[in-house]
Amino acid sequence: MTDATTDKFDWAAPTFQAGLRKRKRNQWWLKSLGLGAISIAFAMLLLLIGSLISTGYYAFTQTHLEIEVELDPGLIRADAPERGNYRQILTNTMQSLFPDVPDNRAELRKLTSILSNGAQFTIRDMVVADPGLIGETVSVTVPVSDPYDQLNKGLIDPDTPEQNRRLTNDEIANFNRLAEAGMLSEPLNWGLITNADSRFPELAGLKGAIIGSAYALLVCFMLAFPVGIGAAIYLEEFAPRNRLSDLIEININNLAAVPSVVFGLLGLAVFIGWFGMPRSVPFVGGLTLALMTLPTIIIATRAALKAVPPSIREAALGVGASKQQVVFGHVLPLAMPGILTGTIIGLAQALGETAPLLLIGMNAFITSAPATPFDSATALPTQIFIWADSPERGFVSRTSAAILVLLTFLITMNAIAIFLRHKFERKW
């Protein structure tokens, strides 16, 4: 068909070859830029995790001291063991360990301060649980207080001038004697997740924050999931397309972009101000987070519903299914992976949200874990906020450790989202 005499394009012409080289070069640049971007992102991530781990890992262990405590019956009354003078018992114990230390209050207090303030309560709880121990000598392992924990972990440099240190030479010497006697141990710090918050870093833990976050997320999920899906189904499948539905759609998209602190103010004004709900409770936290998560879930659900191929709807309509049967029997099950993914991403976002919780008072100092969603509590991000604000040296590493715990939860939730998507994904 082609006429051989017409001008044939010369594929070997230098201009064409130059163009080809340029094209290849451009492609190479584009690829390099992409790789570079990914490398930078990855390096940032490594840097973040690396710095968190390098400061946070100190908090995963806690220095403990093993002491022989003589439960003097003169200091504990058998009929009211909870009111015994356990502080004096500990002072006596420490004094017996350091017989050469002068017997005056200041020196004795220094000795006792090696032990965590929680030690007396540990012993009290033991005695209350088993009053038969009174008069015996028991061996207990108790945390040491924060400065000594820091010293043991090498975070206090003995070479700094004494006045710039938190521990004097005498105190360090005393502690070293205990270390040489082999009475120290450094087990995993389970207290970080089994204790509630405390003024003393060696006792402070995340139990209250974890439970508080869990309750808040539960409330958020139970409200935002059904309401969000319901709203999305109505808007996507049943609502007539007119000005009003356009307006609603625009507003939902805008709500998703509203700064979270604004939702916090709304929660404060509505739930606490008007409805008189208590402050600092996970229930109100969950309601506020639900306000924030709702637009995310609605948008994700609508996108998932839209992605279901129209042929499936037609097929179901064609055999005489009603609109409602089409939606609930065919469209919704097919959209479920997308909906679940969107919901979990929304909840993960809610889990990490700090500002709205600060406004409704979930950054209070609360030393017990909440028993119900209506008890005062903190949440993980607000707990991090509180610890980051605390002056004690021990909270520095605990803040990083708490961030790592929060990140673990977030990664777990995202992993669940991926798992669910793969499990429910169906081909058509």
């Binding site: 042929s311 037609e314 097929a315 309509l317 064609g318 005489g320 299914a321 029997g329």
Partner: protein
């Protein structure tokens, strides 16, 4: 004005099943179907032919009110099935669609098992009292679609795992399962290879014993092979309607002639 040409021998060879008068369809501002009058006979295969965008599929979708599901689409005019106006307030479009089955261009089985695909219609309409009856209905429908022998041992495997031709027959079985009176087919073979197409054509030939079959097709050979009546649509008008033999051998309208001889379309 009136493009409908009715050859005289078109009169009452079979009972009229569907009767349409003055049907107009608008998509937004577009006038897609212009004043179509047609009578479709019972137990006959009627094919709609015409160039792309001529409105044949749109008209087909009027018959089971599928166009109702498109927001911007408006249908005017009078369509009767067995004398019953399908736009009458007493007619439920959902019920109508069970009575007027539809098979689509692309095979669209549900992402469910073969059994559930066929059983879906009878289930939602409560047509069976128990599992045994449902089993019978499913078997009958699959036999009717010529698929039973191929799938009887794997009824619980996904319908989407079948080949294209099998999927299309599964869709036919699904439509047949609700015991319709009319079967609408919108280019059912356009996504299939010639062997699968031949199977479906044989099937349609058998189906016309039970239903009035209306098929939209792009293949004039197919229309000539399987249909007794043919309607030619052009730019939203029904140009010519009559016995298939007549349309293909002795078209009355110039536009029909141009189309079937390949000069336009």
């Amino acid at each position: 004005m009136y493009d409908v040409t009715k050859p005289e021998h078109d009169v009452a060879q079979a009972e009229t099943k569907i009767s349409a008068r003055g049907v107009q369809v608008y998509y937004g501002d577009t006038h897609a179907i212009k004043d179509v009058d047609v009578d479709i006979a019972d137990k006959t295969v009627t094919s709609f032919i015409g160039p792309s965008g001529c409105g044949k599929s749109t008209f087909l979708r009027c018959i089971n009110r599928m166009n109702d599901t498109i927001d911007i689409c408006r249908v005017k005019g009078d369509i009767r099935i067995d004398g019953q106006d399908i736009h009458a307030p007493s007619v439920d479009p959902v019920q109508l669609r069970a009575k007027v089955g539809m098979v689509f261009q692309k095979p669209n089985p549900f992402p469910k098992s073969i059994y559930d695909n066929v059983a879906y219609g009878p289930k939602i309409h409560g047509m069976t009292r128990n599992k045994a009856e449902l089993d019978e209905v499913v078997e009958a429908a699959l036999r009717g679609a010529g698929l039973w022998d191929e799938v009887k041992d794997r009824l619980d495997t996904p319908g989407t795992g079948l080949s294209g031709g099998q999927q299309q027959r599964l869709c036919i079985a699904r439509a047949v399962a609700t015991q319709p009176e009319v079967l609408l087919m919108d280019e059912p073979c356009s996504a299939l290879d010639p062997i699968a197409t031949a199977l479906i054509e044989d099937l349609i030939d058998g189906l016309k014993k039970q239903f009035s079959v209306v098929i939209v097709t792009h293949s004039m050979q197919q229309a000539a092979r399987i249909s007794q009546k043919t309607a030619f649509f052009h730019l939203g008008n029904l140009v010519e309607y009559g016995d298939t033999d007549m349309i293909f051998t002795n078209p009355q309208d110039e536009r029909t002639e141009n189309y079937i001889t390949g000069r336009t379309g």
